[in-house]
């Protein structure tokens, strides 16, 4: 049996078990009218559809090298009947669980760096709390409009930002020297150890105020912003930047997640299928990555993200609700 066939059978089994469980648990329930969409669908199909949807989103996210959290919120808030509060709460948990799962391995391999992450995380997590508070206080249409505008900005950053494998840092700045933010890692592709240090630390810390606030307000993962700041501005090597960004997310999103949890904005019926689907999809995505054409997939994902952002913007403005 080919590996592809085995994967499809595995997916089919997972979906069948999920649908089977829901139908056993709620088989006698009547079909309900989903007012927001004007369509008729058995209610428990929504979490099942969400699970399947996030499964494929997880695959796409890995292959395209885009964080799952940033895809989840704009797309799910645009096309599912859930309030944006619950979508953002679930989005934070999706990004958080992804970061928590990857974080330990990255830390153990020395790719994510604790000393680089902690000062940035302190700023970002504090600001993410304020972002979450503001996001839950503002009217939904205002948050939706701002989300749409932010997503379009993220698409522009993704499409234009360059990355540098080993940025040149001639001299570490005073703050990073005092904090001893420096390191060595083994670069397998080059077969040698790479020494790294950073510069422009105060400016980087200032940018994490904005990054943290936006992560909390919109429930997005912040890899799209973390990586350019760590890599291009501070001058950390690309691998260190990507890995440290993932680890950073686990701290930033934790702080914001508590605000959503305490406000009752986390619904297990939305969150658990999303987290399970995304994690399963991510694992399959890692296997597919070796044979996929990441560049083509990345442009496809960027296009989907742009459309979701545009839809969120129009929805927020009341033009396409």
């Amino acid at each position: 049996m080919s590996r592809t066939l085995r994967r499809f059978l595995f997916l089919f089994a997972v979906v069948a078990i999920t649908i089977g469980f829901y139908s056993i648990a709620f088989g006698e329930e009547q079909i309900v009218e989903v007012a927001q969409k004007g369509s008729t669908i058995v209610w428990w199909m929504w979490p099942v559809i969400l699970f399947i949807f996030t499964f494929f989103l997880g695959i796409l996210a890995v292959v395209a090298g885009v964080g799952g959290g940033v895809l989840f919120v704009p797309i799910v808030s645009s096309f599912f009947p859930f309030n944006l509060d619950f979508v953002r709460g679930a989005g934070l948990l999706v990004a958080l669980t992804g970061a928590l799962s990857a974080g330990p391995g990255l830390l153990k391999r020395g790719l994510a760096d604790l000393r680089l992450a902690l000062p940035m995380a302190l700023i970002a997590s504090t600001c993410s709390i304020f972002g979450a508070m503001v996001g839950l206080a503002l009217p939904t249409n205002v948050v939706q409009t701002a989300l749409g505008a932010t997503i379009i900005m993220i698409v522009i950053i993704m499409a234009t930002a360059k990355r540098s494998d080993f940025p040149e840092v001639k001299e570490a700045d005073t703050l990073s020297s005092v904090l001893r933010i420096t390191g060595i890692y083994y670069e397998e592709s080059a077969g040698k150890q790479i020494n790294w240090q950073i510069h422009r630390t105060p400016l980087g810390l200032a940018l994490f105020i904005v990054i943290g606030f936006m992560a909390g307000m919109f429930g997005l993962g912040a890899g799209w912003a973390n990586v350019p700041v760590l890599n291009l501005l501070l001058g950390a090597p690309l691998k260190i930047s990507v890995a440290t960004s993932v680890f950073l997310l686990s701290i930033t999103d934790t702080a914001a997640a508590w605000v959503y949890i305490n406000k009752g904005a986390v619904l297990p019926l939305i969150t658990v299928p999303s987290v399970a689907g995304m994690m399963l999809g991510t694992r399959i995505g890692v296997r597919i990555l070796a044979r996929a054409k990441p560049k083509a997939v990345k442009w496809m994902v960027v296009t989907i993200l742009f459309l979701a952002g545009f839809r969120a913007l129009l929805k927020g403005l009341g033009i396409w609700g």
Partner: protein, 137 residues
């Protein structure tokens, strides 16, 4: 990897604790969810009624259903919908535990700047988890 590139003791400790907690959190998340859906325990809001509320804002949902906010869920742990929250709580608490575990390392090494950063970070996360700051409505 040579010993020269080996991560610091506190980094490895953080990674080990995080790994244990995140695995436990994910397992609890799945188990709690199936307990919720299976109807083994009574629920505050039955799963099949949630679709009546998931289009509402969070504060409206809480007002209409009487679902607990902050830490008011603790005495209600005999309910399926509250049990389904336990995995989420453990995942959210993981980072806090990791910081508490590595703090003694920084203190022992007299790494004052990072000891202060970790202490402030713990306080920030405790404040967020406390439920005192919720904002919104």
């Amino acid at each position: 990897m040579s010993t020269k590139t080996k991560p610091s003791e506190e980094q490895l400790k953080y990674a080990s604790v995080l790994q244990t907690i995140s695995l436990g959190g994910l397992a609890l998340l799945v188990i709690g969810f199936f307990v919720y859906l299976s109807g083994l325990l009574p629920t505050l809001v039955p799963a099949d009624e949630i679709p009546d509320y998931w289009g509402m804002r969070a504060h409206e949902f809480v007002e209409k259903t009487g679902m607990p906010t902050g830490w008011d869920w603790v005495p209600l742990l005999n309910h399926g919908d509250i049990v389904s929250f336990l995995g989420i709580i453990l995942l959210a608490a993981g980072t806090l535990v990791c910081f508490a575990v590595i703090l003694p390392n920084f203190i022992r090494k007299k790494d004052t700047p990072f000891a202060i950063i970790v202490i402030v970070q713990i306080l920030i996360l405790l404040l967020a988890a406390s439920g005192f700051i919720t904002g919104g409505h």
